[in-house]
Structure formats: C-alpha cells, structure tokens
Amino acid sequence: MKELNNKNPFKTPEDYFEDFTGRLMGQISEEVPRIKKSEGFTVPDGYFDDLHSNIENKLAGPQVKVIALHRYRKYYFAAAAVAAAMVLYLGVQWNAPQEVRFEDLANSDIEKYFETNEFGLSTMEIAEVIPVDELEISDILENRLNEENVIDYLNNNTDEFEELNLNTDE
C-alpha cells in the first residue's frame, strides 16, 4: 500500500479560532486557487491506537439477536390475503362482463398497457408499422429538449463512453 496523504499538516496555532473569520475572508481570492492535496480533516488524539481494541470489544460482545417486532405479522398477512381473495372473487362474480371487444377498450387503457408492460416487439417490428420517415422528435417528446438538458443528463447518467457509441452499421 502506498502511503496515503492523510497526515494533517494543520496544527491549531494560538487564537486560531478567534482569527479564523478574518483569515478566511483574506484567503478567498477571485482566482481559482491551487489546492493542496491535504484536506484538513483531523482525528481525535489516540484514535487509531484504540481502534483495534474497540473493535475487539464489539466482536467479543454477544451478537444482538434480531427480535421480530411483529410476531403475529404473518398471520395478519394471511388474514389479509384471504380477505383480499374473497373480495376479488366476489368482485369478479359481481361484474362478470359480457364479451369484451377491442372497441370497448379506451385509448387511454391501451396507452397505459404499452407504458407499463413489456410487449416484446423488437425495434425492427415497430419500425415496420410506424412510418419513421415522417417522424419528428416532437412527435415523441412533449417538451422540447435544449442542448443544456441533454448534456446535463449525459453528465449525470452516463458512466461509460461505450454507451454513447451509436450503431452505425445499419
């Protein structure tokens, strides 16, 4: 292991805190400053010396047994499941529909279905049905994207350059 840069070079001089604000303001400059690689974090005296024995003590103590807060919870679930099954059964009986036809489906239901289900069509199959030539980006997206949004999105969500490689073989 290489030696990490974890030594704190910043001792507290006398009256450090009294002068802190003044020095703080003095040091903030307009320019982007050069930053030293020490960060200023410190630890309490003797912290690392005691760490091993602290961990030993924790390990030596009995492992805390996890006690279920709701011991009867599974029975509640069982009861709820039975009740739900009965309500469902009665509901289905009550509303036993006549033959459902495609025309009976509301457009919003169809859209909802496609939004929430994997419908297993490949991009080729979709492309065969939808006239791609006449599509505009605004047909798909409700809001216009500006370049800044796109770059922000890519910055935050793209981990790998490879993901951005578009397939250019087609």
Partner: protein
C-alpha cells in the same frame, strides 16, 4: 509484513484468527478511515462505519474467495457501508442524498475535527455537489492517488467509465470554484 495470501489464510484459521485480525486492522485502519471519512465527512460517523466495516470483514472472511485482492474487497465493503450510512442518515433527516451531502460539507466549517483552510473547505463544498459516483472517483484518484485499475476493481466499473467520471468531476469542481 505478511503477504496477503498468508494473512487471509491465517484469518480463516481459528487458531491464528485473532492475531491476524489485529494485523489486518493495524494495516488497513488508516487508509480505510480516510477513504470513509471523505465520503461521510464527520469523524464520529466515520468511526461507526469503520468499525462496522472491520466487523463485517471479520465475520465474512470465510466467504472471501480471493477473486479480487483483499484490500479491494475491504475497500468495497467500506464504500458500500459508507454509502448506505449516508443514505439512511439522509432519510432519517428527511433530506435527499444530494442535499444531505451539501449540508454536511457546509457543516465542516463548524467541525472541530476539520482544520482545513478556506480553500480546502471550498473544495469539500465543491465535492459535496458531485453525484455519488463522481465523488467517489474524484476522492480516490485525487486524494488517495489510486490507479484507475485499482479503483476499477473496487468499484467494479470499467476504466473508461472511471476516466469519464473523473474528467466530469474535475470540470464541475473547477466550475464551482470559479463561480463561488
């Protein structure tokens, strides 16, 4: 100094476990402490996470298969522990993770165990604004001076992805330092 293989072997052997564990703690306590501290920022929180990390290592050493290096495995545990710690703490405080990290960075000013100057404070605030992945990569590359290959093994991400994250992190930090 024991080799890593010997240490793992001794950790798995009941007779040598205690002494090997002491060696393990003493070897890795400082690098792991600083790794965690850069994620959670507060000393007491770091102490909790560090102890939990070692306890997890101790209890799970049997399951360590040696597919990666021991220290990568420990760093991975420490990283996961630290990240889940800040996630649960932000939830308790009812803040989103980003907001929590920024608050923590702002709190450093009042932290008795932070003695950085204004520039270091500003840098920590800038790091606090980064998304989680970029923050990790920046800290490991910039402060811990790790190689991309080492970071890649710990975070289980491709080197290309890490370079991109580091590049973006540096750009964002520069922009933050210029505008604040």
């Amino acid at each position: 100094m024991l080799t890593e293989e010997t240490l793992v072997y001794e950790l798995k052997d009941g007779n040598t476990r205690a002494s090997a564990f002491e060696v393990l703690v003493n070897t890795y306590k400082k690098p792991l402490y600083w790794h965690i501290r850069r994620i959670v920022l507060d000393h007491d929180d770091t102490d909790d996470v560090l102890q939990n990390t070692f306890i997890k290592v101790f209890r799970n050493i049997e399951g360590f298969k040696g597919d990666s290096k021991l220290y990568s495995w420990m760093y991975r545990i420490a990283t996961n522990e630290a990240l889940s710690f800040i996630k649960s703490k932000s939830k308790i405080l009812g803040q989103d993770l980003q907001g929590y990290q920024e608050t923590m960075a702002n709190n450093l000013e009042a932290d008795i165990y932070f003695e950085g100057d204004a520039i270091q404070l500003k840098l920590q605030k800038a790091i606090g604004t980064l998304p989680e992945k970029q923050k990790l990569v920046f800290n490991m590359k910039y402060f811990e001076a790790m190689k991309y290959e080492e970071i890649s093994e710990i975070l289980e991400t491709s080197v290309g992805g890490l370079k991109a994250s580091y590049h973006l992190a540096v750009k964002k930090i520069e922009a933050y330092l210029r505008s604040n």
